[in-house]
Each structure stands twice: as structure tokens, then as C-alpha cells.
């Protein structure tokens, strides 16, 4: 089977074209060793069946990092795909800049055809393009079309088929550099399997890399490529002796791109503001822009928080019903409990995230495809860059207030690996909705939430607001510290294209949402399910001793024993072993703390506002007669829940998104250390004052 690759700039309609070509025959995975999405599909072109690879959108083939090396590596067959044809997708109205990439593609020496996409947009702007002239200038076939409407698709299919069966003539000679530079590049090329074009790639990539000499660094473009280290060292020497070389490569290509674009594209010069101008006048306005940004983000947050809730309730009700059916059909015993509570409950723990993921990614897909996401980054850049973060980190951090799982998945839009990692690692600090029942239980039990503070506020409101405020401040400070220490890197550049506003294609949006949900279920879901069953086992076994009916079963379980084992660790925070069991159980999900405490105290409820449970907590005493739950213990416990990484689903999704266990473990370590220290400070400090 032949393989073709789609290459193009971001926002050129490449993925829409990929969907058009492959229909439903596609799958998404990761490129080996990195967490860059790899999209593969199969297209039927008349008698031919071809494999289609959708490359990540790029402005050039230069790799500043290992992630960015994916495009070049795919094109040069490093992932084992013999590539037969490159389809360069070009936004017709953006010809000059797109041709820069096309020229780089031609230099690789692979057969290329060019798709002049978005012809409808070009026409409505009043521009015209001479596609025959372009074809002549580039020496390859050029197919004008519009992937959105499907116009010209059959021409493209024929052109691909033809290019695969009877390759066209040669591309024009590659762009030449000035005398000494050309000699250097040529000489370096003789040492490389990819010749001159690989030499150009190596020089440009090393010139662009943030720390060009650190080949061994995990995100360096030459990491895991020791075969290139020798040539890399030589390339660094050349760059040092000829500092203008990298700039010249770019300039020469642009000169040619500009002269070709100038000869085939006729622009109409109208000063009429178009749709994009009119929208930007509001959406990028110093005042209205910020307000619209807040409105859009509020809507996104609302969808996660409120709109997803009925679906989540429905899933929980469904799980409950299924458990009921199992209980009525199967004989009672450990097997039934495993099936009902371990397996069905565990599957429920996975599926319950799907509504939020679906809502968040519908939003992101619409915002991204419409062109607004780039504007959101523009508007939020000024305060995000203060913390050393990219404007794109705003959506994940905000979504973290609802749930860290979809939020961490949303961090994918951040290009730079280190910046993405920082965002992923601090997102779980945002006060997610699962912490809310715990806070409500503690505030309602130990404080008088209705008492007014300063006449306008209530104690409950002030406490809850403080938790949210502390979580934001901590997340931002941790991001700042991580950026200065273990993930040391400069504030990411803004450099952002603001594409014209377009109506998102509904099919493309649905596909993205399904893709995200499926990736979650497949990769993170399995881990969550496994952990659910482990946790169930710890809480279930060993079975209670019939001779001790007054001791709750959970106290006799492994989890109960573990709770007693960790008591010395949590005692300085003001907790007893029962709270320890609650903390262990809340690893399933923080809100489980409420039902576990109910189990521990023999109250049958899952409701954080249940007075029976609150009463039992208020009356609980240590063996020496002191009350267990004082307001100070309550504060210490809330602070613990605020900072601790207790959620196995978060851990599973970090594993999925970073591709290694190192980062989820680090996240648990630093967050739990933070939680322990902060609670210690609150409890012991409070004891000194009170």
C-alpha cells in the first residue's frame, strides 16, 4: 500500500482535508517516544487504497525540540513508513508564507503535489490565483480546491492517483546559498545520509534550538539520535563560524517564495473592513476584548460545572441500577461484591468523566476552529506571561476548577514540552468540584456557616472563597517555581497567528470530541479501572470478624489497618486513624471521603449535608476524651484536601499525557508534601495561637 503525507501550516484546513479523504477510516495514536498526536487513515482513490498520514501543522520543517522533529522524521521515513507522496496543503490567500514550507518540502526530493485550499475564501476576498503558473514555477501538480465544501476533491483524488502511478517531472533546483555558506552546507551534507537537505535541516534546527549544544537533553531535537551527534557537533562549529548562515537559509527561501507568490497571486486591495476586522474590533478591544474573553471563559466553565452535571448524574444512576440488577441476579458473596462495587463501580468511575471531557473539547474545538482560541491567548498573554506561562495555559487552568482530568488533556494545545508539563503539574492544584463536598461537610460540621462576617459575607462563604483563592495563588506560584527550577526555561514566546474567523465544521468538531473521549477511555480508563479494583480490595478484605459485630467492617479492612499504620504520620496534622482511612479512600475520588467517613462512623449516607453524619463527627472523641473534630482540625483538613494529589484519575491522565510514570509520581510527591507541610503549619501554628 502506498503512503501519502499531508503537510501544511496550522490553520490551512489540513485536518478537514484529511477527514474528507479518509472518512471514518482513521485512527489516532502517538508518535514513538513523544506525546505528539499521530493521525493515520486510509483513503480509497479509484482503484488505489492508500495510507494517509496527517502531519502536525508547522511553518517549517525545522525542529527546535524533539516534538517538532516529528514532521521531518515522518517525511524522511524515520518511523518506518516509506513515503510515496507529500501532499502540501496551502491556504490560497496565504500563499507567500505557505510557499516557504512547500519549498522546504521540495528540497527533500520526495514527490510533492500542492493543494491550493480555501479557494472559496480567496474568491470572496476578491483575489485571484494562477494555479497553472504556480504549477509551472514549482514543477509539481497544483490542485485548487476547498476542503470545507468539498469543491475540487475529486480532482485532488485523481491527482494523487496520477502522482502515485506516473510521477511528474522534477522540481526546480533547490534554493542556493552564497558561496562560502553553500560550500559549508554541501560538505556537511556529504557526512549525512540525507545529504544537503539534511544538512540544511540540521543547521537550521540547531540554530533555532534553545540550548543547541545539549544533545542529551530529553527535548533536544537530536536526543535519542546519537548517530547525528558527530555531524551535530560539526554543524555547531559551522554556525559559530558563520552566524549569518541560519538567517540566510530562511531569507533565500522567502525571497523565492515571495517572487513566486507575487507572480501568480493577484490581490484586490479593498479597504473595506471584512468580517474578521469587524469581529476583532470588539474581541481584541482593550475593554470589550477582556470582557468578551471573560464571558467566553465563563460559558466554558459553566458547561463543565453545570451542563455536564445532569449527564454525570445519569451515568451514576445507571451504574447504581446496574449494581442493583447484579445484586438481584447473583448470589451474595465476595464475587458479587467484586462485580458490583469493584468492576461496575470502577467502570462508572471512568465513564463519569466523559461528559466533562466532551463538553470541554467541544468548546475547545469550536474556539480553535473559529479562530477565537488564538485571540484568547492574545488577550490573556499579559498576565499569564508574568507567571512564565503561555496564554494557552489559561483554558486548562480554568477547567481545573471543574475537574483536573479534562483540564490536563486540554494542555495539549501548548506546543513547548516544558511549558506543557508545568501546566499539567499545577492544574491539579486548582480547586476541582470533587473537593467541594468535602469542604461543605467540614464547614457545615465544624463552623457556623451562616454567621455573618462584616455584615455582608457569611463564614461559610469566606472559608470557601479563601480555599479557591489559595488554590489559584498556589498554582501560579508553583508554576513560577517549576519554571525556575526543574523545568527551567524562558517564558514561552507569544508568536501567534491570528487566523481569519471561520465557521467551524460540525463534523470536524464531533470527530475531535469522539477522539478525545476515546483516547481517555482507552489509555487512562484502564488505569483508573485497575486502581478502582485495587482500592475496592483494600476496603473490602479481610472480611469482618463475626465475633466483633460492633467494630465497623471498614475498620477491620486492609484500608482500616493502613489508616492505623499511617496515624503517626498524620497525627501532627491533628488527624486520627479514621481520617486516615478517609484520606486513603479518597484516592478513588475526593468526594468518596464523605461516604467513607459515614462508613467509619456507621452512618448510612453519601450526602455531605447529612445531619446524622455531622452529628457523629461532632461527637467523636479521642481515647483520652478530647474532641477529634475541632475547627482547627477542620481547617487543617481543608488545607490538606486543597493541596494533596489524592485523585487516581488525575494520576492516570498525567501518565497518559506525559507518556511516563515519572511525572505523575512527581506530581503526587510534591503535592502531598505541600499538603502535609501546609496542614502541619495550620494545625501546629493554630495550636500555638489558640
Amino acid at each position: 500500500m502506498s503512503t501519502i503525507a499531508l503537510a501544511g501550516n496550522p490553520n490551512c484546513g489540513k485536518t478537514t482535508l484529511f477527514n474528507r479523504l479518509t472518512g471514518l477510516r482513521q485512527r489516532v495514536g502517538n508518535y514513538p517516544g513523544v506525546t505528539v498526536e499521530r493521525r493515520l487513515g486510509v483513503a480509497k482513490l479509484g482503484p488505489l487504497v492508500v495510507q494517509v498520514v496527517d502531519l502536525p501543522g508547522t511553518y517549517s520543517l525545522v525542529a527546535r525540540s524533539r516534538d517538532e522533529a516529528v514532521a521531518y522524521d515522518s517525511l524522511t521515513g524515520r518511523f518506518g513508513e516509506g513515503l510515496d507522496l507529500v501532499v502540501a496543503v496551502v491556504a490560497a490567500s496565504n500563499l507567500e508564507r505557505s510557499l516557504y514550507l512547500v519549498l522546504s518540502l521540495l528540497e527533500l526530493g520526495k514527490p510533492v503535489i500542492v493543494v491550493l485550499n480555501m479557494m472559496d475564501e480567496l474568491r470572496s476576498a476578491g483575489h485571484t490565483v494562477d494555479s497553472a503558473g504556480l504549477s509551472e514555477a514549482l514543477g509539481v501538480a497544483v490542485v485548487p480546491m476547498s476542503a470545507r465544501s468539498g469543491e475540487g476533491l475529486s480532482n485532488l483524488q485523481r491527482a494523487i492517483e496520477q502522482a502515485l502511478t506516473q510521477p511528474m517531472g522534477r522540481a526546480p533546483p533547490p534554493v542556493e546559498l552564497s558561496g562560502t555558506h553553500e560550500t559549508q552546507v554541501f560538505d556537511l551534507g556529504t557526512e549525512l545520509p540525507g545529504g544537503r537537505s539534511q544538512a540544511l535541516w540540521l543547521l537550521s534546527s540547531l540554530a533555532s534550538a534553545e540550548s543547541p549544544g545539549a544533545f542529551e537533553q530529553v527535548d533536544h531535537p537530536l536526543a535519542h539520535r546519537s548517530a547525528l551527534h558527530k555531524a551535530g557537533k560539526r554543524a555547531l562549529g559551522i554556525l559559530k563560524a558563520h552566524p549569518e548562515l541560519a538567517v540566510e537559509i530562511i531569507r533565500r527561501r522567502h525571497d523565492r517564495a515571495r517572487s513566486i507568490a507575487g507572480s501568480v497571486l493577484r490581490r484586490s486591495h479593498s479597504n473595506e473592513p471584512n468580517r474578521t476586522d469587524r469581529l476583532d474590533a470588539v474581541l481584541l478591544h482593550p475593554v470589550w476584548g477582556s470582557l468578551s474573553f471573560l464571558a467566553v471563559m465563563f460559558l466554558l466553565f459553566q458547561s463543565l460545572f453545570a451542563w455536564a452535571a445532569p449527564f454525570m448524574d445519569l451515568i451514576e444512576a445507571g451504574v447504581g441500577q446496574l449494581q442493583g440488577i447484579l445484586r438481584s441476579k447473583l448470589p451474595p458473596g465476595a464475587l458479587l461484591d467484586l462485580m458490583a462495587d469493584g468492576v461496575v463501580g470502577g467502570v462508572g468511575n471512568v465513564i463519569v468523566f466523559v461528559p466533562q471531557i466532551a463538553f470541554l473539547f467541544s468548546f475547545i474545538a469550536v474556539l480553535e476552529d473559529s479562530g477565537y482560541l488564538a485571540r484568547a491567548a492574545y488577550v490573556s498573554d499579559r498576565f499569564m506571561s508574568r507567571a512564565g506561562l503561555h496564554g494557552r495555559a489559561f483554558v486548562p487552568l480554568l477547567s481545573g476548577f471543574a475537574c483536573a482530568v479534562p483540564a490536563i488533556m486540554a494542555a495539549r494545545s501548548i506546543e513547548n514540552r516544558r511549558d506543557r508539563l508545568v501546566t499539567i503539574l499545577v492544574t491539579p492544584l486548582m480547586t476541582c468540584s470533587a473537593r467541594l463536598p468535602v469542604f461543605i461537610l467540614i464547614i457545615g460540621t465544624l463552623f457556623a456557616p451562616e454567621t455573618s462576617v462584616l455584615g455582608v459575607f457569611s463564614t461559610g462563604g469566606v472559608l470557601l472563597f479563601s480555599m479557591y483563592a489559595i488554590s489559584v495563588l498556589t498554582a501560579v506560584s508553583c508554576a513560577f517555581v517549576l519554571k525556575k527550577t526543574i523545568l527551567k526555561s524562558p517564558t514561552p514566546p507569544l508568536v501567534l497567528e491570528l487566523p481569519p474567523y471561520r465557521l467551524p465544521g460540525i463534523g470536524d468538531v464531533i470527530r475531535r470530541v469522539v477522539e478525545r473521549c476515546w483516547a481517555f477511555i482507552k489509555d487512562a480508563g484502564t488505569i483508573i479501572l485497575a486502581l478502582s479494583i485495587v482500592l475496592w480490595t483494600l476496603l473490602y478484605f479481610p472480611r469482618p470478624d463475626p465475633g466483633l459485630p460492633e467494630v465497623p467492617a471498614v475498620e477491620q479492612s486492609f484500608a482500616g489497618q493502613l489508616g492505623q499504620m499511617i496515624e503517626p504520620v498524620i497525627e501532627p496534622l491533628g488527624y486520627d486513624w479514621r481520617i486516615g482511612v478517609g484520606l486513603l479512600a479518597s484516592f478513588a475520588a475526593r468526594e468518596v471521603f464523605v461516604s467513607t467517613m459515614a462508613l467509619v462512623y456507621g452512618v448510612d449516607t453519601e450526602d455531605a449535608e447529612d445531619e446524622g453524619l455531622r452529628d457523629s463527627l461532632r461527637k467523636a472523641r479521642h481515647s483520652d476524651g478530647r474532641l477529634v473534630y475541632t475547627p482547627l482540625v477542620g481547617l487543617s483538613l481543608m488545607v490538606f484536601f486543597l493541596f494533596a494529589a489524592q485523585c487516581m484519575s488525575t494520576i492516570a491522565i498525567i501518565r497518559r499525557e506525559t507518556g511516563t510514570w515519572r511525572w505523575p509520581l512527581f506530581c503526587m510527591l510534591y503535592m502531598n508534601a505541600l499538603a502535609w507541610l501546609a496542614s502541619l503549619l495550620v494545625y501546629q501554628g493554630g495550636r500555638l495561637i489558640v
Binding site: N94, Y100, A209, P243, H254, D381, R382
Partner: protein, 75 residues
């Protein structure tokens, strides 16, 4: 002679030279901000926020600190 970050809103100019080359500068150059290219400043976010540029066929936003290495002249 001035630099790109100092152009008032609405001014058109041509990039004359790149004063300092960095990773970010090379990325901007790949996107088309090379000597000889025409730019127009469309917007500036308040309080030293990002600048929006109109280039041939597309719009680009960048921070003032990223723009200051581009020397520009009247078109």
C-alpha cells in the same frame, strides 16, 4: 530608523534588518518576518501587551520584547 515595537497603531513599514538573532526571532523569520517584508501595526494590547501585525496574507501577534529586534523603515 526605528524598531517594530515602537511603531504607532496604523503605521505601515518595511523590515530593514534583524538586530539580534534568537530562537524566537528565527521562528518569526520563518513565518515571514524577514528583511524586505511589509508590515502594518493593527493593534496593541494595553499596558505593554502584545502587538498585532498585518503581514502579506495573514495576521501575527507578538510581544513588544519579541518585536524590538526588528529594525524597520518607511515602506
Amino acid at each position: 530608523m526605528t524598531t517594530l515595537d515602537r511603531l504607532p497603531i496604523g503605521t505601515s513599514a518595511r523590515v530593514r534588518a534583524v538586530l539580534r538573532v534568537s530562537s524566537t526571532t528565527l521562528r518569526l523569520m520563518e513565518m515571514g518576518l524577514v528583511p524586505g517584508c511589509a508590515v502594518q501595526v493593527r493593534k496593541r494590547a494595553p499596558f505593554g501587551g502584545p502587538i498585532e501585525l498585518e503581514m502579506t496574507g495573514f495576521r501575527l501577534s507578538l510581544r513588544p520584547g519579541e518585536a524590538e529586534v526588528f529594525e524597520v523603515e518607511a515602506p
